[in-house]
Point group: C2
């Protein structure tokens, strides 16, 4: 495959952005990425958009054509593609765009992700998220997204001795990182007590174990490696990618404490890149709930199965520790505009590998990883990024 | 780019299928395509799904993982991708899968498309379709999908002298073809009078100028050309593909009687294949309304601009005439399960090029074309298929 690099990144602030529409957000992130890359819009060959549920949140499908149009690019008649795969849509979009460049069909592609979640009630947003689980066997019976993750958390506590305090430490760490990120939805540190004493969403998960509803967008410009240095001195290479699926409904899974999709996607990405988890110094993983991060760092083999909670408690995933996890603040503190998540993770990793992460800069990071989930883990995508030598 | 061929095709009957769910339909089409191809499911590298609005029609997002799961393939942990681009989603999915194979990432991929539209009221289905137009500038003010196409029809009549009778002849022809297709939703011929005397949907378009709401699914198996003959003696090569976007809202377009996205997508596909419209003997074009087919055959350069109505009236697009258009019955008579449309078009063209189209077989067809629209023409995709020598 022809090598592909990230040559531009852009993101909006994440939060409850009632003064900005979906199209405003998508265009803001896209223009920032184009400006950062040094290309002009005329250099683009295609537009990829990751989006989960604009059809439900804002009653608009066909959002990739919308973004092309409102970016002022309609006259270029670019091919546009919207990808959906639950929360993994942005990460899948990167993978598809990467293959489009690798195939030789395109040279330079922008990949954006956006979601506008706060124009509906919180209850309605919860329903919309639940539609990425199994409608006929889970959602229709009242299983909420949080409820399904709570079942995984409960089982993880039972099987591996994970404690509520250990899960809460994920939130404490990610809020600490988010406090260093000017684009994060939450930029305040929190204490263990804050998490433990906040209200239940679905026992054993509290409000502070859960990522928020957010508006926001992020974008990356991908370029064939052989053209990348025309635009930037610091192209960040996509070293390997892996995607995997699993049973949609929890009750069919082999093990509630492991996401097989993450395990397989991780193996595929590391194999493709000829790397191991030990090479990774900075990782953005899908912490839509605190238990998700614990399972992710285990399933990606940063720590042994069952030790994710303890490793977090002991600080192994803190900034500049063994592996710096969710330096952006993660979904928990940076925010969770679903379609933007996978792209925003890539933006953060690229920023770290370029050495542009400011107060949250990870030292000597050569390889970074993103991990993104769809639904309750029926889709997982892993990308590995590295500095191009 | 590495060459890619279609080695398997499958489709369900189209219609109001109240005894079948979305997942039933998707799996039926997929298994038929796998059986037809001679591969086993273990040979698959990935699953692509074209779907417009399962989130709204059946409250289920993340349908690509769903299809993998319910096909019994969860244990293979295949990467799955859902593509949405209004009505063009199936055709875009084929293009993405083609690039994935061309890149070397995959060798054999199944591409399915499905929509389950009749579980909601007709009025609600109309609203859902309208969400592929511009929500903020069209739909929200009450512009329906049919109303927007009616404006194009009216302008085409004004500019080019197209008549209601000429538009109606599209429906007559496509019902005549549909009567020869055992999977078509409507298998009865109709007369010109039937179309002209049926009720207005949006003047000058009647019920019989409009494609129906449908349930259905279709699938194709794509394979790297260098491996295709292991499975079939009649691989059908994808000779060239083109995709283009345009302004989302009609009022921004250069000309209401031409779809620039179709013009550009067609040029890109013909250029990539080093072919001209004269090479095409069989074509499936997007006739969601009769005016759409007239514009399509003009914009694809089968006839000169403005002469689409006359050419139809004179029989140039009938079975085994100059170019056989919508031999399947088209969206009008075969049916319009949106996500399946682009795939079903490919299924029909492959069937024709293989010589397996029975009573509607086009003689000596070497090259076939599919043309698929998203929204009111903000997306268009053209694929060219040919027998592999």
């Amino acid at each position: 495959m022809r090598d592909v690099a990230v040559i531009g990144i852009g993101e909006t602030a994440f939060g409850e952005l009632w003064d900005k529409s979906f199209r405003d957000l998508g265009i803001e992130a896209g223009l920032l990425a184009i400006e950062d890359s040094g290309i002009t819009a005329q250099d683009l060959d295609a537009i990829y958009v990751g989006n989960m549920s604009a059809g439900k949140f804002i009653d608009q499908e066909h959002v990739s054509a919308l973004v092309a149009d409102y970016s002022g690019l309609a006259d270029q008649h670019l091919p546009t593609v919207r990808i959906e795969g639950g929360g993994a849509c942005g990460a899948i979009a990167i993978l598809q765009a990467r293959m489009a460049i690798a195939s030789g069909q395109h040279d330079i592609v922008i990949v954006g992700g956006a979601e506008k979640m706060t124009d509906v009630s919180d209850a309605r947003a919860g329903e919309i998220l639940s539609a990425t689980a199994d409608q006929e066997w889970e959602s229709v019976f009242g299983a909420t997204f949080a409820g399904l993750y709570a079942m995984m958390a409960r089982r993880h506590m039972y099987e591996h001795g994970t404690t509520r305090e250990q899960m809460a430490q994920v939130a404490v760490k990610n809020h600490k990182n988010g406090a260093l990120n000017p684009n994060a939805q939450f930029q305040r540190e929190i204490t263990l007590d804050t998490v433990l004493k906040s209200g239940w969403v679905a026992e054993p998960l509290t409000v502070f174990d859960s990522a928020p509803l957010s508006d926001g967008a992020a974008a990356v410009v991908l370029c064939a490696m052989d053209r990348a240095r025309k635009f930037t001195d610091t192209p960040i290479r996509i070293l390997g990618s892996g995607q995997a699926s699993d049973f949609l409904a929890l009750h069919d899974r082999r093990d509630l404490t492991t996401m097989d999709a993450t395990v397989v996607a991780g193996k595929r990405a590391f194999h493709a890149a000829s790397l191991t988890p030990e090479h990774v110094k900075v990782a953005e993983v899908h912490d839509n709930f605190t238990i998700s991060e614990i399972m992710a760092i285990e399933d990606l083999r940063f720590v042994k199965k069952g030790l994710g909670g303890m490793a977090t408690e002991e600080g192994e995933t803190a900034l500049n520790a063994k592996v710096s996890v969710n330096t952006s603040g993660g979904l928990k503190a940076r925010g969770q505009p679903v379609g933007a998540v996978g792209i925003a993770q890539a933006v953060e990793v690229v920023r770290q590998l370029r050495g542009e992460a400011g107060k949250r800069q990870v030292q000597n990071a050569e390889v970074g990883l993103t991990h993104t989930l769809g639904g309750t883990g029926a889709t997982a995508v892993v990308h590995l990024f590295g500095r191009a030598n």
